[in-house]
């Protein structure tokens, strides 16, 4: 869902996008990775996705990072960014990006999917919970999981919308909330997320903020 999110941000004119994605394009990705196509199978995803984004808006800068950033690199990248939109396939990667966002003091938008359902959170500790407050223990990794591209595009586009709202100061972003879209029943639900005062990730930041 990082593809739809990046595409919508590029088309909206978000001026600089750092796009991190490891690996090469494989055919099972074609059901949801809207920045790829049959012609780029076997080729590095980040490079081609960045090229596609540039083809959609010549006024923006897109930087391709063809690997998953480690902790140090994630911190460096967050330090160069105004916000992070997290769409990786594992909680380990999401929590790493969350740590980097908390350290940099920037908003963190988490978009995730499974099957035909998805979740979206807009966080910025200490004003809200951080991702580690919500998931103190990373849920188990799943090598294979069902994905329908329509939910990927829907949640990815909503993530882009929240990012655009935050960046432009428009509307009322979903600060500190989770939107859960139950695709089985077509029902959206919004809940307020609670900070964990003992959160090992954001406790210190909150204390510094007073």
């Amino acid at each position: 869902m990082g593809g739809p999110a990046a595409l919508m941000m590029a088309m909206a004119g978000v001026g600089r996008i750092l796009l991190a994605h490891s690996g090469t394009m494989i055919s099972p990705d074609l059901n949801r990775q809207v920045l790829g196509n049959e012609q780029v199978l076997g080729k590095p995803r980040a490079t081609h996705f960045a090229e596609y984004l540039r083809s959609m808006n010549r006024f923006i800068e897109v930087e391709a990072i063809d690997h998953e950033p480690d902790d140090e690199e994630a911190h460096q990248l967050a330090g160069r960014s105004d916000l992070v939109v997290a769409c990786p396939p594992t909680f380990e990667e999401r929590l790493r990006l969350n740590r980097a966002s908390v350290a940099a003091g920037i908003p963190f938008i988490d978009a995730a999917q499974w099957g035909i359902s998805g979740t979206l959170m807009v966080l910025q500790s200490p004003r809200t919970a951080c991702l580690e407050c919500v998931y103190p223990t990373p849920p188990p990794f799943e090598e294979l999981f069902p994905v329908v591209g329509a939910i990927s595009s829907a949640i990815g586009s909503l993530a882009a919308l929240e990012a655009i709202k935050v960046l432009s100061g428009t509307g009322d972003p979903l600060w500190g909330k989770m939107l859960s879209y139950d695709g089985n029943r077509g029902i959206p639900t919004v809940i307020s997320l609670t900070r964990n005062p003992q959160c090992p990730c954001c406790q210190e930041t909150a204390e510094d903020a007073g």
Binding site: P89, A112, G118, T137, P139, F145, S180, N184
Partner: protein
Amino acid sequence: MKIHLVLTGRAYQQGEQLPGQLELPDQSRLSDALAAITAALPEGESLQGSCLLALGGTHVGTVDQHQDPQLTEGQELLLIAPVAGG
């Protein structure tokens, strides 16, 4: 007391095996509701530990790590199983 139970998103299919309403003794707590849910699940099945819990629209933790507030009549208990697909 009666508590409305909603399992959403990925937890939806597990929710089909459960009643939409829990009947609990007065002054029950969240942990009592979770015990009642676990008892109602088919043998060998359990709620995922990282499943999020919300009471009346406010997040109160996960199945494994949560506050244990006293429940009130008619409150809605929402369970959202974690998803990380990208």
